[in-house]
């Protein structure tokens, strides 16, 4: 156990701090759901040039080209968070599509897409889930049939975040209808401007349309737009999902949320008493603090395992389940501490945090369901982590 960083890393940390001091004023406040503005694009370029975004992506594809170093990545995240400066652009293009293309794309595809994606010039959306294919994603029915050098796509996708602003989609379609379900899927990439694509916003329980439905009617895409070969889509997608699961349940996000609640309980009063001095709410706060701390230390343990190239096994499999649950419980505590104020929403008088606690409470329930439901996570934990048997499949009727 040695929680200090070695001199090399302390030097690196000092460099990051120096950069932030110098450039903080030109940093954007944050990123919305809209297309990145000119200021955001300039910031992204500056971050890439200094190795604080696209750090390990090779230079030839528009990245910074550094060797992977998990500790340096963590230091960057820590320092940007502490300075309240937004990190580089994320989103499904940068965090999911680029790693997939690097692993499985052709040289032409890499040259064409990685650099503009990193620079924020191409925005991507993910076309995986369908109304009839959620947890059982491999049962997806959106079809692509051959027509000369093209595929013609017909079907529907759902839960497509950023589809409204996206330029491109990476999409799973069934190209081999007679193959077993996992072997009949291909991973296609195409422009959202292709004729026959219709995007309809999907309003959720939060009252906002954080997602969309996408409908395909005779959408023509050249066969060269496949990543990883015909019928290989399921395996390509799994390479991508691996990147998504790592993003959900981040314990440092829970840590930041916990600090917000501690502030809230110091500033809000009930019958003239600060909430932090109310033993009932305080006990719930400390209970959640234990859980957040446990997950943060757990995160450090996983980080150490990664730097040593060790497989953390079960310890890694529980992060999405626990992290999303704790975030949800934190929002629940904030709402309960606010009591009747906690149910105010939209533009109501007396509104707290812009209604953000209710918004997060509801949206986090979506995250518990999305990205592999809690129940699917428990299947994974028990089957891969505890070596328990799979549920036998019912005999086909």
């Amino acid at each position: 156990m040695d929680l200090a960083y070695s001199a090399e890393y302390e030097v690196f940390r000092a460099e990051v701090r120096e950069f932030l001091k110098k450039h903080k004023a030109s940093a954007p406040k944050g990123y919305g759901m809209t297309r990145p503005s000119g200021g955001v694009l300039a910031w992204q370029k500056l971050l890439i040039a200094n190795g604080y975004a696209a750090r390990t992506i090779p230079k030839e594809y528009g990245g910074f080209g550094a060797e992977p170093d998990i500790l340096k990545s963590r230091i960057i995240a820590e320092e940007f968070t502490a300075a309240r400066v937004p990190m580089g652009l994320s989103g499904q293009g940068i965090s999911m599509f680029v790693p997939t293309l690097l692993e499985l794309g052709t040289e032409e595809q890499k040259q064409a897409y990685i650099k503009p994606t990193l620079n924020g010039e191409i925005i991507w959306c993910q076309g995986y889930s369908e109304p009839g294919s959620g947890s059982d994603l491999a049962s997806l029915q959106t079809k692509a049939h051959e027509d000369g050098d093209d595929f013609i796509i017909n079907g529907q996708k759902i839960w497509t975040s950023t589809a409204k602003t996206a330029d491109m989609m990476f999409c799973l379609v069934r190209t081999e209808p007679n193959a077993p379900k996992h072997e009949g899927i291909s991973y296609l990439i195409f422009s959202m401007k292709t004729p026959g694509i219709e995007v309809r916003p999907l309003t959720t329980m939060t009252g906002h349309a954080e997602f969309n439905e996408v409908f395909f009617t005779d959408v023509r895409v050249p066969k060269t737009q496949i990543v990883g070969g015909r019928g290989q889509g399921w395996f390509v997608a799994n390479a991508t999902l691996k990147h998504e699961r790592g993003m959900l349940g981040d314990p440092n996000q829970a840590g930041a949320r916990l600090r917000e609640i501690i502030d809230l309980m110091h500033s809000e009063t009930l019958d003239g008493q600060r909430l932090i001095d109310n033993p009932l709410y305080r006990d719930r706060l400390v209970q959640l603090q234990s859980r957040v701390l446990a997950m943060q230390f757990h995160g450090l343990r996983l980080l150490t395992a990664s730097t040593k190239g060790e497989d953390a096994g079960l310890a890694r499999l529980i992060v999405k389940l626990q992290g999303c649950e704790i975030n949800h419980q934190l929002a629940a505590l904030a709402i309960d501490a606010l009591g009747e104020l906690g149910v105010l929403y939209d533009d109501s008088p007396h509104l707290r945090a812009g209604g953000g606690w209710q918004q997060r409470y509801m949206f986090d329930l979506g995250l518990i369901i999305g990205g592999g439901t809690a129940q699917i996570q428990k299947n994974i934990i028990s089957e891969r982590g505890l070596a328990m048997p799979r549920e036998p499949r019912p005999a086909k009727a």
Binding site: M1, D2, L3, A4, Y5, S6, Y9, L71, R274, I276, D277, P279, R282, D283, L285, V286, Q287, Q289, S290, R291, L293, A294, M295, F297, H298, L300, R301, L303, T304, A305, T307, L314, A315, I318, L321, Q322, Q375, Q377, K378, N379, I381, S382, E383, G385, L386, A387, M388, P389, R390, E391, P392
Partner: protein
């Protein structure tokens, strides 16, 4: 930056685990529990052989001079095998109190004997750690103790006791002292000996070579981390037993471990308990390396492991179905060990109040 165990720590924990697998079998635990042995002698000797009682004792006094994280790793395996021997008071809390507050003579007299396993020490600090019940509390007047202390840890085999008085002072009392009356208490957990001390003007040596309040807090922090580690080990054994049972037991022509209802119970236990391991590690690390956080982290470790421990204990029992409820299977030894860990040295509620207090919350 390295958050994890060293190779030496893994090897040490492994060697104690391998020994306990042999000497602290369920059959042995059962005979010790049924006979109310306060110290299962053969198990004790095996642990003495490995140096366990002297883990935290300075090398100058014949111990190994290791850190609290090492002691927590041992507490975890002792919990895993519901080992019926003294440890938390005798090998952790009392040696730490003697090292911090003992005179040279007191250290020379007791530390080598504690390290060699020749002497067992109990800790009577419940009134200061968990709060006083049943009129508990000890008063020190002119070097003599009066009153009573309940829920004394490592009670039955103890040759000496460290006793906290109401004013925060700590005292060393010989188990054979005149005016000292010992009453054993029977708890659900028969793998550890708990009792009550009555003092009628009993001769005691004060431990005064340092800040007694701080010394008592260190004893409490260390004890809480050990109880958390004990629950971690006992809890993981209960998960392992549940998973093994679910892979063997058949109903409706299937092993019950293939039913999602059962698998999800096992997944939930693992997901709840495993992050507690990192919390225990950090709390033990902070005890030695980040003293400013020691009480906060010890309180968190104790309360959190108590909560997830209770969940694991009941859920593992449920996975075992009717068998889990029987004496024959013996699963209840782990259930009860976790049950005692939860209440000793302060309930989770009490530990959380301590965590709040050291952060300045609720003290206005």
């Amino acid at each position: 930056m390295e958050f994890g165990l060293s190779e030496d720590q893994r090897l040490m924990q492994d060697s104690v685990r391998r020994t306990l697998e042999k000497v602290s079998s369920l059959e042995r635990v059962r005979t010790a529990a049924e006979a109310r042995e306060p110290k299962a002698l053969d198990v004790w000797h095996a642990l003495v052989e490995l140096g366990v009682p002297g883990l935290l004792v300075d090398e100058a006094y014949g111990g190994m001079g290791l850190k609290l994280l090492d002691a927590a790793l041992i507490a975890e395996v002792l919990g895993r095998f519901v080992t019926p021997v003294p440890y938390i008071a005798s090998s952790v809390m009392v040696p730490l109190a003697l090292a911090a507050l003992g005179s040279d003579k007191q250290k020379e007299t007791w530390l080598p004997k504690l390290a060699s396993g020749e002497v067992v020490a109990g800790a009577a600090i419940s009134e200061r750690a968990a709060g006083a019940r049943e009129g508990g509390g000890v008063t020190a007047t002119g070097g003599k103790l009066s009153g009573k202390s309940l829920f004394v840890m490592d009670f039955g085999a103890a040759d000496i006791f460290v006793v906290a008085d109401k004013a925060g002072g700590l005292h060393l009392v010989d188990a054979g002292a005149k005016g000292l009356n010992k009453v054993a208490l029977t708890t659900i957990d028969l793998t550890r000996s708990i009792g009550e001390l009555h003092f009628d003007n009993v001769e005691a040596e004060p431990l005064v070579s340092g800040d007694a309040e701080a010394g008592l807090q260190r004893m409490l922090d260390a004890g809480r981390i050990m109880l958390a580690a004990d629950t971690l080990g006992a809890g993981w054994m209960m998960i392992d037993k549940a998973v093994d049972y679910a892979k063997e037991r058949k109903q409706f022509d299937r092993v019950i471990g293939s039913f999602q209802a059962v698998k999800h119970m096992c997944a939930e236990m693992a997901a709840e308990l495993e992050p507690g391991r990192s919390l225990v590690w950090y709390a033990a690390h902070a005890f030695d390396e980040v003293p400013a956080e020691a009480t906060l982290m010890a309180s968190h470790a104790k309360s959190h492991l108590s909560e997830v421990g209770r969940f694991v204990a009941r859920t593992s029992t449920e996975v075992h179905g009717g068998m889990g409820f029987t004496d024959l299977l013996g699963l209840h030894y782990w259930f009860k060990r976790i049950g005692l860990d939860r209440q000793l040295l302060g309930s989770p509620e009490r530990a959380r109040e301590d965590a709040a207090r050291v952060q300045g919350w609720g003290v206005a």
